[in-house]
Symmetry: C2
Subunit: 328 residues, 2 copies
């Protein structure tokens, strides 16, 4: 518990998509000193609508960390109104992506700052500061990457498939357009290199974590770094709390199990936290050379978030066994 | 009053900027059959803000013609709220251009349609249809033109000078960036060529009418056409009802008079409607070979708009003396 003069606080990096990842990040922010925590957020479902740059996962992380997120949906702003989108509907447009009025303000400001030449990283750091968010929140890249869902009806952009089409037809493949050319920012690479622990959030492996891993250099940096790397499975009893992770795992790997999740990260993963309902997955995970930690992973409230975060950090510390790993 | 078989209804084109022009256009729409009226609107103070394409004069015309305009300011939507801009302010941005929530919906939809490849003309016609506006409303061009105010502190874009700087420092010159390359649309040229009467609205000669006249071919089309062309002076007693027209006329011509306004249009103008308070300007106008019609030009309410519109049409008819000019 004591901070000796030359002992630095250990540094934690979390990779996150939307709601599930954001909730674990919130738990980490409540458990760690905020200065220890850096969040790297998927931006491959960023899109332009009505001329506005919308970063759904970044916003979900920022709204969750500033305690403004809608507690029911997990995204958007609690108690937001929809005057503008109602007026858009009255003009005859189909507002399939529902934007609240206060949420719109975020997109207006982000777009204004980007148009003035700021990078997405600059914009995100400024938005976080304005919202009183203390952990460092970094978009995975300042370059555009777009998750494309390949279906039997052709290719669909992520938000259109996810929101407008409600994940139908099923995804037959995923590709990350632009990922070859996009670079993770220097701050992202430095954060991973300097981390003692990297936590892969309970986000969709294909839609949220996959794009981050697809950026050139990310997997290598994870593999070559000294951090202990643990994931939290997004599945509870073989089903996802939100979104199509289970269906996608079934379609793309043959099974919606935490073992299948671990296999997607097997080249860099040290351990994975899985739910008690999926305890039967543990042997398959061990067979990959990955440790499994079985606990309750459902985050119903803020106490759950903090508990799961603390258990995940303790699990990572047990894997490393190094003295600074208990410093948080 | 009768419509004989081969007598076509006479066609009226109005050139308009913002509030004053829009109110006269509203009077014309109440006086004429809507099918007779085409409005050509200045777009040289269009700008992008927060990624949105904002067309202030087009919106003022559409809101006025659909009876939604704020009756006090003349622009924006009556009773609009400002939830989004308040949230933008809370994020630390200076929202110097106040956009209401319902007004924002117009800009979102316009920007979405433009991003889908529609022209500004298409977008405007669709917005007009959605709002139940019956006259044809045409932006002067689908190409970008930007009114630039030359001041002793340098050049300022129109909206920044007009709204943010409140018309200071004084305009020493005006230029219309892009006007050389921009073309009026075919529909604009055809409307002027086919018109029996062209009415130059009581809008700022430099900020609203000037950009329309600066487009290549517009002055020639007005000069060579067969329409009777009358202006309505924006001055009452040497002062403008709204905006800096008087100050600009003084700075740029030496006098804020309806004679100075007539002189700016002298190469194509047949007549000008001036206020009783400016009756002393009539001799100078006559000396230009332009007829003056002296009446009350202040539009306090809808009845005033219709009366001034009817008087302006009757004045144009008197100048032409042709039988179809009384057909409206």
């Amino acid at each position: 518990m004591s901070d000796t003069g030359n002992a630095r606080r250990h540094r934690v990096v979390a990779l996150s998509g939307g709601v599930g990842g954001a909730r674990l990040v919130d738990g980490l922010a409540r458990t760690l000193d905020a200065r220890q925590l850096t969040v790297i957020v998927n931006t491959a479902d960023d899109f332009r609508r009505y001329g506005l740059h919308i970063s759904p996962d970044v916003d979900t992380v920022l709204y969750t960390l500033s305690e403004r997120a809608d507690p029911v949906t997990g995204w958007g702003i609690a108690g937001d109104t929809h005057l503008v989108l109602d007026a858009v509907t009255a003009l005859g447009e189909d507002p399939w992506f529902r934007l609240g009025d206060r949420d719109l303000a975020t997109h207006l400001v982000r777009t204004a700052w980007l148009d003035e030449g700021a990078s997405l990283t600059d914009v995100t750091v400024r938005l976080a500061a304005r919202a009183g968010v203390r952990p460092v929140v970094l978009p995975m890249s300042d370059d555009p990457v777009a998750t494309i869902i390949v279906t039997r009806e052709g290719e669909l952009p992520m938000q259109e498939w996810f929101v407008r089409r409600r994940c139908l037809p099923p995804a037959e493949a995923i590709r990350y357009a632009g990922a070859d050319a996009a670079r993770p920012t220097d701050r992202v690479i430095e954060a991973i290199r300097g981390a003692d622990v990297v936590i892969v959030g309970p986000s969709n492996p294909y839609l949220s974590i996959g794009p981050i891993l697809a950026l050139s250099g990310i997997r290598e940096t994870l593999r070559r770094g000294t951090a202990t790397i643990v994931a939290v499975s997004p599945l509870v009893g073989g089903r996802a709390i939100k979104g199509p992770a289970a269906e996608m795992l079934t379609q793309l790997t043959g099974e919606a199990t935490s073992g299948a999740v671990a296999r997607l990260y097997a080249d860099f993963l040290d351990g994975i936290v899985i739910d008690r309902a999926d305890a039967a997955d543990a042997p398959a995970i061990s067979a990959l050379g990955i440790e499994a930690c079985v606990t309750d992973t459902l985050m119903r409230d803020r106490a759950d978030r903090a508990r799961l975060a603390a258990e995940t950090l303790a699990f990572a510390a047990s894997l490393r066994g190094s003295p600074h790993a208990t410093d948080g």
